[in-house]
Subunit: 369 residues, 2 copies
């Protein structure tokens, strides 16, 4: 089902919108936490509700291997399986698969399971069908994701195969007995850091026609300006009334930069991964809690963020739990970092409504740039 | 301060009581979860409040080494450090130290830190003073804990040294500037499985005079009947109006057996450790969730325990998280096992009030024996 973006405010290219899916709505700009195997690490669906999360990601690659798409389908889909009544999105598995050096042909990709080494095969059609079984509100097409930097011909081949797969994935989705009623399917624009290829990939993806559009294959190690240049040209070519999703981005600067270029959605493991390593997001920048300067510090993690779910405990106490390896620490830091990120995005949204996005953008670069 | 037990019901030797400490009261029989380093693994003080926990244990050995008693004192004691407004108890460190093969003399014990190998020394006096800094509501004397089985002369030496240390610990506690106002100090009865030595140790400990009494050095691998025989003779000699604490016990059968013999308090890492290994407490006995028979099982962990904090999720989902190593699983299983244990003890209490403890005892043996 077409994901419709109702734009309620704009400030430059930055958009505030409400996106309507088959089974619910969400506000953008929207940060989506990653629950790789059906749970955000250390958290439950009740925690995600307490955090007011709107959409949670699941990884098709992991879920198709463990516990398997059939099992999740039997339980009524990923949301019901995890007892999460908010919205869900599954990636296509492409990103993980391409990090495993798969055998790729026009027909599909053959790769090994990290769990038991067994061989698996994914095609644009099966990736869509598996995601229909996983039953998330949004499914993503299988795309070809090149590591960067890459030669132009490598990027061009990836764009071509991504376009070929996009058509087949769309046909599979639309002819699936139930997917289109319950789910939206997003296409993915590739092309690396090459602006002309990004333009070509955008045009070819929009021509196929999807329910929403993603920008893939960036934020994979390239420089910030290399990452941002293609974003502007892509969003200029995407339909205004459908959501735009930048895949794999979750740092404050990256978020304001892509929102400034008209992006609505983004996801990343960064806030939760940082938390597990003791790095805490605060209004004055990152702190690493294992640093000895926090011994005896009786302030909360971010003294200006009163609604943090970690505000009951001091840096001193949480540092102690962190450095002694107590699993309570990564849990509390994960809650904090996600709440902080949602609060950040909430302030970002408000700045768009108030026509103060440029100021918010500038402040974010000053603290985090 | 003397911990006063007001007995509100009895059924045989099983007692229901309300214990008054300097800063609060608690109900017995009482299961105390273990927060080794100031947190129960995977849980926070807010979780413990949700679970209606009354007292939480901290381990002096661990806390004196990391983060150090001085730091905890600076934060206002263990409860304030962890933002836990319920009651706390610290062990003396003896149990951990004796598992490290320390050098023990009449004066005290010298042992190494598991954190950095550094050498440390603990005396009855310093164990009391450190626990005064930790500031728990109940502190325990430093005792000599023999591994079992042991020769009678080894047990006798341990009883003698424990008695010597008890006197010195009591003097240190009573002459400490603030400890006696804020804390209660419990003596510990030793003597292994030797009934005559248990009698001697009880008499000598009661003669020193403590605010409450513990039975130590049991539930360390001996058989069930060897464990229980000394309990009866000890509780017969302990004052009626003070609490009795069996150290290191947390299985349903063990609990009913010691409560049947007049014990009020018990602690154990068992329910939380089992949870981390996927073993779940249920009304029909233990289940190991990693077992393949739980694949696709859409029941909650214990279908008859509706108030479980895990009741939102199926065995199938939690098994998936468990076998893929997701840290959400040990957290949810820990919450379940602790809630289950508190519910079990709550039913046990009710059976005493209702004069049906014998029936409860029998049923527990049938399911768990």
């Amino acid at each position: 089902m077409k994901a419709l973006s109702e734009i309620t405010a704009k400030d430059g290219k930055a958009r505030l919108s409400e996106v309507t899916l088959a089974n619910g709505k969400f506000q953008t700009p929207c940060f989506m936490p990653v629950g790789t195997r059906g749970a955000v690490k250390h958290l439950s669906s009740l925690d995600m509700k307490d955090l007011n999360a709107e959409i949670i990601l699941g990884n098709t690659y992991h879920l198709m291997l463990r516990p398997g798409a059939d099992l999740i389908k039997k339980h009524g889909g990923l949301g019901k399986f995890a007892n999460w009544d908010g919205l869900t999105l599954t990636d296509s598995g492409g990103y993980q698969i391409f990090s495993l050096k798969p055998k790729v042909e026009d027909e599909g990709a053959t790769f090994r399971s990290i769990y038991d080494g067994s061989s698996h095969h994914l095609t644009p059609e099966s990736a869509s069908s598996i995601q229909a079984d996983l039953g998330a509100d949004i499914q993503m097409v299988l795309d070809v994701c090149s590591a960067l930097p890459a030669e132009r011909n490598v990027l061009k081949d990836a764009v071509d195969r991504t376009a070929l797969w996009a058509e087949r994935a769309r046909t599979a989705f639309l002819t699936h007995p139930t997917a289109n009623e319950k789910q939206s399917q997003f296409g993915i624009v590739q092309g690396g850091t090459d602006t002309s290829l990004r333009i070509e990939s955008t045009e070819r993806t929009v021509e196929v026609g999807f329910d929403g559009y993603a920008i893939g294959g960036l934020s994979v190690g390239e420089g910030r300006s290399e990452m941002l240049e293609p974003v502007d040209v892509v969003t200029d070519l995407l339909p205004e009334d459908q959501p735009r999703y930048f895949m794999g981005l979750g740092d404050p600067v990256g978020i304001v930069e892509v929102v400034a270029r008209g992006v609505d959605m983004f996801d990343c493991v960064l806030p939760t991964r940082l938390a597990r390593h003791g790095t805490v997001l605060t209004s004055t920048g990152r702190i690493n809690l294992s640093n000895a300067r926090f011994i005896g510090d009786d302030q909360p993690l971010d003294p200006t963020f009163e609604n943090s779910p970690a505000s009951s405990w001091s840096r001193s106490y949480l540092r102690h739990l962190l450095v002694t390896g107590e699993p309570t620490a990564p849990r509390i830091l994960t809650l904090h970092n996600l709440a902080w990120m949602f609060d950040f995005v909430s302030k970002l949204r408000k700045s768009i409504v108030d026509g103060e996005f440029e100021e918010f953008h500038k402040q974010t670069l000053e603290i985090w740039g």
